[in-house]
């Protein structure tokens, strides 16, 4: 019952070609940079994993993190709400060249679809996007005189996540707004791989303060001084 792993390379070793991969973070807050870079490193060295579908609110910025994955050529498709941010060059280039797919999902619907997968809810109705082009082809139903769009759960093979504290059972806390999609992604993925600033013994996180219970987590890696993606981008770093 010890979920710790000892290196980023070991943590991401099991991710397969064609996997659906949820990556925590909103912009640079919560981006698991070390795990992502280990994955890029593995791809560069071995050609695998490739043909990935990546779920994240954005589609990468600058030349690090998800943008580095896209630049490396291992991403077949992005599922996101806002594939334009401060420097979305990597995605934009490949998208305009028709070399990467895009499923555009309203942000709240994206969050709810991920939660639904984690909660065993295969479909739900939302007012969001009703009457817009993003609802085209989706079933519509009326409840109490108002129209709603049916949305499906969004499941993943693997989630890679940045946490603040983890215990060896996989209980997690997050730091500030770096929480964002991460607790939901841990619920929705078959395997959740987490990098945490500090890994502690069971019992060192107050049971009242656990945000993600360990049942949703499979592997925990301590990364004591994690890179902050926004800071990397602002200083012009490239992977």
């Amino acid at each position: 019952m010890d979920k710790t792993v000892s290196s980023p390379e070991q943590a991401v070793a099991g991710i397969e070609n064609g996997a659906v991969l949820m990556i925590g973070g909103f912009g640079g807050s919560g981006a698991p940079v070390e795990l992502i870079h280990a994955l890029v490193g593995r791809y560069v060295a071995t050609g695998s994993p490739t043909d990935l579908t990546v779920v994240n609110n954005n589609a990468g910025n600058g030349r690090v993190g998800i943008a580095a994955m896209i630049d490396a050529g291992m991403v077949a498709k992005m599922v996101c709400s806002f594939p334009r941010s401060s420097d979305p060059r990597a995605f934009t280039e490949k998208y305009l060249a028709d070399e990467i797919g895009l499923e555009l999902v309203p942000q709240g619907t994206l969050a709810e679809r991920i939660r639904a997968a984690g909660a065993g809810i295969p479909a739900f109705y939302t007012p969001t996007s009703y009457g817009t082009e993003l609802a085209e082809g989706k079933p519509v139903a009326e409840f109490d005189g108002k129209k709603y769009v049916q949305e499906r759960w969004l499941q993943a093979d693997v989630a890679i996540i940045k946490a603040e504290l983890a215990d060896t059972h996989g209980n997690l806390t997050y730091r500030h707004a770096a929480r964002n999609f991460s607790p939901l992604m841990c619920m929705a993925a078959g395997v959740s791989i987490v990098q945490a600033r500090k890994v502690v013994a069971p019992g060192e996180i107050d049971p009242e303060h656990v945000v993600t219970p360990g049942i949703f987590v499979d592997a925990v890696l301590e990364v004591p001084k994690p890179l902050q993606e926004e800071e990397l981008i602002r200083s012009g770093e490239a992977y």
Binding site: A117, G118, A119, G120, H169, P207, E208, I215
Partner: protein
């Protein structure tokens, strides 16, 4: 017909042998709760209770109860290191989302297609369902612990449930006081039986056909009295 049978504790012990180290487990109220007592040496399961606790332990000593710290049966519990609290929607996300490794429930009847009836025996009185209908769809493995027959000797393993269903085609394995039986492709397959009972006698106490593979193990439990 008087037959040898396992005690409730022995049935629970047998079910506990199949719970792997690190498993997340929900135990129904009553007989299933006994399973927690018999975790094999060296294995550590994490117990979930529907009202929002993961990682709970034994009951506290009498007089030491904190009634804000209870399980789904409203019994006082204690916490183990690594426990967590969460609200009911998250708790049933764990259940319905298939995050539990094992759920072990009681039964009035189990049908050969895996249908379970365990919440209501008739239409009289006040009906109450609790979390049973969620749990049967909740775990990677849903098993039942039960006496092989009812108190008046009627089969609990049947061709078709006559009591109201808790869930359809949801049970994978049944641990009874006489046997361990899997549900495979719409029929009961015998895996283990008490050495003291013949196949014919076991079949006569079972309300549906028992398929018997080449190897049927001996169901042997330690004396736990």
């Amino acid at each position: 017909m008087s037959v040898p049978k396992l005690t409730s504790a022995q049935v629970a012990w047998r079910a506990a042998q199949d719970i792997e180290d690190g498993a997340y487990v929900n135990l129904g109220i009553g007989l299933p709760e006994l399973v927690a007592r018999f975790q094999p040496e060296g294995r550590q399961a994490v117990f979930h209770t529907e009202n929002g606790v993961l990682g709970f332990g034994e009951a506290p000593a009498t007089g030491e109860e904190d009634w804000d710290l209870i399980n789904a049966g409203k019994k006082a519990i204690t916490l183990k290191p690594g426990a967590s609290f969460f609200h009911h929607a998250d708790s049933f996300a764990m259940v319905r989302g298939g995050h539990l490794d094992v759920a072990i429930l009681g039964a009035y009847q189990v049908a050969q297609n895996g249908d379970l009836a365990n919440w209501r025996v008739g239409s009289k009185g006040v009906p109450a369902v609790g979390g049973a209908m969620d749990l049967v769809h909740g775990a990677k493995r849903v098993a039942v612990v039960t006496d092989h027959v009812t108190k008046d000797g009627k089969p609990k393993l049947v061709e078709e449930c006559t009591f109201p269903l808790t869930g359809k085609e949801c049970i994978g394995r049944v641990y009874t006081s006489l046997a361990v039986i899997d549900v495979v492709d719409g029929r009961f397959v015998l895996r283990e039986k008490l050495p003291e009972i013949t196949l014919e006698d076991l079949q006569s106490l079972t309300g549906a056909g028992l398929a018997t593979p080449d190897h049927v193990g001996d169901l042997v439990a330690p004396d736990l009295s």
